[in-house]
């Protein structure tokens, strides 16, 4: 079995597109595309909202509401939205399927980003916030120069969990006729071509791992060492324990 999955993955024919068949590269591109669009919209919506709610302490019901939305069954919502939305689009556009898919993915990505941005700001020690105001920072300056940099570890961890979920769930785009790596899973299942199905799943997992690694790298440079406690001398806990600590906070 492992051999045939590897065989499917390593066959260069499967990676190239032909006039009749879309190859792995193209589907990978589509998958990354769905993911990026969903994450970009989710970040634009949830990050500012989470930061402002954390800063002002007002509207925290929004965070709870967003978390409650997590309980919605994704496929069910997708099918419902397709039924409602796709009749409004005719012809050669696939917007009738793309819009429902992105809505579903954004709904998945918003809660972790929102609640972590909120928690990150709330977790800034009160005496630090007090000092920031006491030094004469305005409210937006306190948020941008003090609360945001200190909330970054939690914001990143929220973003990373949103990203993993979106990459995994973007496979359902194929369920409503779109492309993406899910194509191999659904086609493999339908054709009882199990190497193709498992190969598709392996590709999704690999994409998730590599993306997470890339973001972890960005995080390493974006977060101040004073916050991540990654010091050259060993005066603080090392980065591995720091990651565990972050997860606990959440």
């Amino acid at each position: 079995m492992i051999g045939s999955v590897l065989g499917w993955l390593l066959d260069p024919e499967h990676w190239r597109s032909t006039p009749f068949d879309t190859g792995i590269w193209a589907q990978l591109g589509a998958h990354v595309g769905f993911t990026l669009i969903a994450l970009a919209i989710a970040v634009l919506l949830a990050l500012p909202a989470g930061l402002v709610i954390g800063h002002t302490g007002r509207g925290s019901w929004l965070v709870s509401a967003a978390n409650a939305v997590r309980a919605l069954p994704t496929v069910g919502v997708l099918v419902l939205l397709v039924v409602v939305i796709s009749p409004h689009f005719y012809g050669r556009t696939n917007a009738g399927f793309l819009i429902p898919t992105e809505i579903v993915l954004v709904v998945l990505a918003v809660p972790p980003i929102l609640s972590n941005a909120y928690a990150g700001v709330q977790n800034v020690p009160p005496q630090v916030r007090d000092a920031a105001f006491g030094m004469g920072m305005t409210g937006p300056q306190v948020l941008g120069r003090v609360e945001l940099p200190n909330a970054l570890p939690l914001i990143f961890s929220g973003f990373r969990s949103a990203m993993l979920q979106v990459i995994a769930t973007a496979t359902i785009a194929s369920y409503v006729t779109l492309g993406g790596l899910g194509r191999f899973i659904y086609d493999g299942l339908a054709q009882k071509d199990y190497p193709q199905m498992i190969g598709g799943a392996v590709l999704v997992a690999a994409l998730a791992l590599i993306s997470d690694l890339l973001v972890a790298l960005v995080q390493r440079y974006a977060v101040s060492r004073g916050v991540s406690r990654r010091f050259r001398t060993d005066t603080g806990p090392d980065s591995r324990t720091a990651v565990l600590v972050e997860e606990d906070v959440r």
């Binding site: 000092a131 105001f133 006491g134 004469g136 305005t138 200190n150 406690r229």
Partner: protein, 362 residues
């Protein structure tokens, strides 16, 4: 000059934190607000930079009504030091110190250069400038907190229990350096503490507040010890008031007598003959090291481990309290007096110090 004019803070639930406080903190002096918890001392302090807005009354900063400026502009003119320092964890020591100059629009390079000077000025190793707060001890963080408050050279500083979170030894160092720094800078300081000893040590004037936020007594430390206005203040100022007041009485003319010595490391302290009980051991610079029992074998080398180190040192011109303490703590009964460089001048006895105390006008 900071002037509270009937400043009052009443919370919506009816609690009165500060009640009609009228108080003037003169320019260039340290005014300490002290009192038990719930006396509104921190609330009063925070009304100056409007971290808390007074419900009624006015707080004046020189001739400016503090309510007439936008809060953030007011705060940039006032140095602010808080308990546990409240340093920004994501910024290096240097950037923490440069905070207010940067807010005021100074360019980064210049702000950092002057921040580095300040880091040294508050007694920190400049090598720490690149570190983050989490890499510093509590005492070091507190020094950075003071440097940060000083960075824009504000004429006025507010200090909210800045030294209460560090251990007693470090606290005393920080207090001494704070007084040295204030000697150089002459800021107008309002300092909050719950520790009456700290208030007495640091204050040019001390305001004792009582629970409910009213002023019980405003006086110099010596006056507060000598003449507490009522039972509450007397109780709060505490025991040993007479003895503690000696800290403000100076013995400029201690009748110092010459004291025979042996050198640490020498083998034959011959001059010890005839002295009862103890002989003072000094190092090569004539700094007192401890007392050697004369009953010991005199031809043995005088080593550190044989010395009795219980005695404290008094300085010529210092407070009578430390002169008396030097006598009381010395095993020989002779209090050791040194000059400003720590070199031996001689000794006095408790009886002589007491005579000075009795002579001084009450």
């Amino acid at each position: 000059m900071i002037r509270f004019d009937a400043a009052t803070k009443r919370y919506p639930d009816g609690t009165v934190a500060v009640d009609q406080l009228t108080l003037e903190a003169p320019s260039g002096a340290i005014t300490v607000l002290v009192g038990p918890s719930g006396c509104g001392k921190t609330t009063s302090l925070r009304m100056v930079n409007r971290m808390i807005e007074p419900t009624s009354g006015t707080v004046w900063l020189d001739d400016t009504d503090t309510a007439s400026l936008p809060a953030h502009e007011l705060r940039r003119r006032i140095g602010y030091v808080i308990q546990n320092a409240g340093l920004f964890p994501h910024r290096t020591v240097l950037d923490n110190v440069a905070t207010v100059p940067l807010l005021l629009g100074e360019d980064r390079r210049r702000a950092r250069a002057s921040a580095l000077e300040l880091v040294e000025r508050v007694g920190l190793d400049p090598a720490l400038a690149k570190r983050y707060p989490a890499q510093l001890s509590g005492g070091q963080q507190q020094r950075v907190g003071v440097a940060r408050a000083l960075a824009a050279d504000p004429p006025v500083m507010l200090m909210d229990e800045p030294f209460s979170a560090v251990d007693p030894v470090v606290r005393e160092q920080l207090q001494d350096e704070f007084l040295r720094l204030q000697g150089e800078l002459g800021k107008t300081i309002v300092f909050v503490t719950h520790d009456i000893d700290e208030a007495i040590k640091l204050g040019d004037q001390v305001a004792v507040l009582r629970v409910g936020g009213t002023l019980a007594q405003l006086a110099t430390p010596a006056e507060l010890l000598a003449r507490p206005i009522d039972a509450f203040v007397a109780g709060f100022v505490g025991r040993d008031r007479g003895y503690r007041a000696l800290a403000f009485a100076h013995g400029r003319n201690l009748p110092v007598r010459e004291e025979p010595t042996v050198a640490v490391g020498s083998s034959h302290p011959g001059s010890a003959a005839g002295l009862a009980g103890w002989i003072l051991a000094v190092d090569a610079e004539r700094r007192p090291q401890g007392w050697l029992p004369t009953a010991d074998e005199l031809d043995e080398t005088v080593t550190d481990s044989r010395l009795h180190r219980g005695g404290t040192l008094a300085t010529q011109g210092g407070a009578l309290r430390s002169a008396l303490d030097a006598c009381l703590s010395s095993p020989s009964g002779r209090g050791v007096v040194v000059d400003d460089d720590g070199r031996l001048l001689g000794s006095v006895t408790a009886r002589e110090v007491l005579e000075l105390i009795e002579e001084r006008e009450r």
